[in-house]
Symmetry: C2
Subunit: 366 residues, 2 copies
DNA sequence: AACATTATGGCAATCGTTTGAAAGGTGATG
DNA sequence: CATCACCTTTCAAACGATTGCCATAATGTT
């Protein structure tokens, strides 16, 4: 859909110069920020003493601490983070590397991550790969410098080599994967039970009489896709249904062509009687294609989608979903990362957390 | 819906310790990052020369530049950003302050912002206020330190005082508002035509025979809400419909109670024949309440919502939306901010950009 | 040949904060 | 009175990169 906005608004951009209505409030015009040096001079103390006072060191007497604190508050002193990052070799910053935030999964995950980070007094840098491996490499490469203390990452759909990640780990920065992981990298992974939930979803369809179940996905290399596919295949096998490779369909990762691909699938001679969509963004084209082909859901065809869309409830018919614990996964990923950052010799190598997804059975697959 | 996940997964959290399957790849274990100093020693040059070579200064000969570049590449040198930020008093970082990312508007906006920032070689720090004024203040206060070069902000719904923002501006950091602005702060604002689009939406309902149009919103203090409300009122007035204050309903900003509030509204003696939802998250409770009360949309009641949900197309019935140019607004906000960062004495005071929203008329309001 | 100019690279200070070591002061103890 | 312990504060060297100015050599100009 995005391309619609882009073209529409490229033409419609309107610039308006509004009248200045109110006067500008002066309020403490201190372009030159107050530094520790200024505090020191003002108080006839050394910078060292001021610094120690601010960090509540035992070396400084209670009275001077109070004087320092008072002036700092008065002058609204905010320490320069880069000076202290440089000296302490700690940035109090983490990076979150994502393919995109269009998806409601990642939106919720960011909320989870940010809430933990804010608690811990950490800052969050966000980077989007736009599903490009080259960008992911470039972004990760920057992290060797010390800009961040640790990294949370959900890899791009193009990623099938993990050297850029192992290099960052080797440079001493903890990395935690969430959702989209690299199996061959030994570090913490926060995932959901993709195989099992896909198995459950498929089994549910089979129990409701489906035999021609199609599986639609968007990336061959993502391990989560493969696990979901595995669950799908296993469910079919366990119910003695032969796997039809032509019902396993690869879509674009850029929305545009998916409607056509799905439509084509639905016009096959062995038309599927159920669809499992492995990612959220396939939901809309599926519903549209079914509507346009006058295939009633769930009558002619049943649908299950992996999605966190709240609106699943109010679709027509209500969508059966596999809902990932997005917020929790983000929160857990951040929590595990902070454990590694706070304990000295904490190893992430064998830490994997699996948070189960939930199959919400609704009308679309009943 | 979120609370459901929270309680479910709190109990279901499962920890699994996976077997280590593959050996760890060594690949350049250089815990101590290569610095300019190391390059200098290796090449028998001074740090100054190396620095200048890397920045392609005319003071350095072509040959030495090449030698330096070669070694830097070989040792995978990445400059320490904090050292150079400290020295240059530039962080190459911007902050994005948002109420939340649950909303699809903000997700798209982040995409827009990030794409521009990545182009310009800037880094993006993200902060969520969770609609709390106190957090917004605390976050903004930190920016006086030089952590970021500029700020993009969409204020919290609690914000009705803007001192924290003018203070940051006074400290020399450019600020650009987008979507949710503070009218009384003189700086760039990227907004959409809230009044006009609300006017259009309301007029559309009136033209389709509605007379009892309810307006549902979530915050009294947000200027965008007030502009939308104004458009609504103006449309009613222009069509000689008296404004009924009890049809202007304030909802929670935390999803939970909204279903009940809407249900109550729909059970009034003077039941509205149309609803305008001023924010995306009200869509689900509206549809659910209508369904549960057996009020057919658009037969008994018509619905229009301000939303960027792609799924609006496949709701039952398809939802009429006022769609904001989210991606474009994010992009524009970032673009304007970078103009201020790159030109020396560029004033943002009178810069306001209005990008129009689009009324997508669909079944729910026909 | 004397002087001016250009090309190249080094010196040292700087950004603001932190921190180990040293210095100054007090009081107590042998 | 000397010694020790302790409390408080200052000194100075980092952290890594940048940059104005200076030094040297090489080249050009008269």
């Amino acid at each position: 859909m995005m391309f619609i906005y882009e073209t529409v608004f490229a033409q419609k951009l309107t610039f308006t110069w509004l009248q200045a209505l109110k006067r500008f409030k002066p309020c403490h015009i201190n372009m030159s920020n107050t530094t520790i040096k200024i505090l020191a001079k003002e108080l006839n103390l050394s910078v060292a003493s001021v610094s120690k006072a601010l960090r509540d060191s035992h070396e400084i007497s209670k009275e001077t601490k109070e004087k320092v604190l008072a002036l700092a508050r008065k002058l609204n002193y905010v320490p320069n983070p880069y000076a202290s990052s440089l000296r302490k070799r700690k940035s109090k910053t983490i990076a979150v590397v994502l393919p995109e935030v269009a998806d409601s999964f990642f939106s919720l995950a960011i909320n989870g991550i940010e809430s933990v980070a804010q608690d811990k007094g950490y800052h969050v840098l966000i980077y989007l790969t736009h599903e490009s491996f080259a960008r992911e490499e470039a972004i990760l490469n920057e992290f060797k410098s010390g800009r961040v203390d640790g990294i949370l990452i959900s890899v791009s759909s193009e990623t099938n080599n993990s050297d850029h990640i192992t290099q960052v780990i080797a440079s001493g920065k903890p990395v935690v994967f969430f959702d989209r992981v690299c199996d061959d990298v030994e570090t913490a992974k926060i995932i959901t039970d993709d195989m099992e939930s896909s198995y459950k979803a498929t089994s549910h369809l089979i129990q409701n009489g489906c035999k021609n179940i199609a599986y639609i996905y968007t990336s061959r290399s993502l391990s989560i896709n493969n696990k979901r596919l595995e669950g799908y295949k296993k469910a079919l096998a366990d119910h003695d249904i032969t796997i039809q490779e032509d019902l396993i369909v690869l879509c674009d990762s850029n929305t545009t062509g998916n409607y056509d691909i799905i439509k084509k699938l639905l016009k096959k001679k062995n038309r599927p009687d159920a669809l499992i969509a492995c990612v959220e963004k396939l939901t809309t084209p599926i519903y549209l294609a079914c509507r346009d082909l006058k295939l009633s859901i769930p009558g002619k065809i049943k649908v299950i989608s992996f999605t966190n869309l709240q609106a699943a409830l109010i679709l027509s018919p209500a969508l059966t979903t596999v809902t990932q614990p997005a917020f929790e996964m983000g929160k857990m990923a951040a929590t595990v990362l902070f454990k590694a950052l706070e304990k000295k010799n904490y190893s992430l190598k064998k830490e994997t957390v699996i948070i189960p997804s939930v199959l919400n059975i609704r009308q679309s697959a009943t």
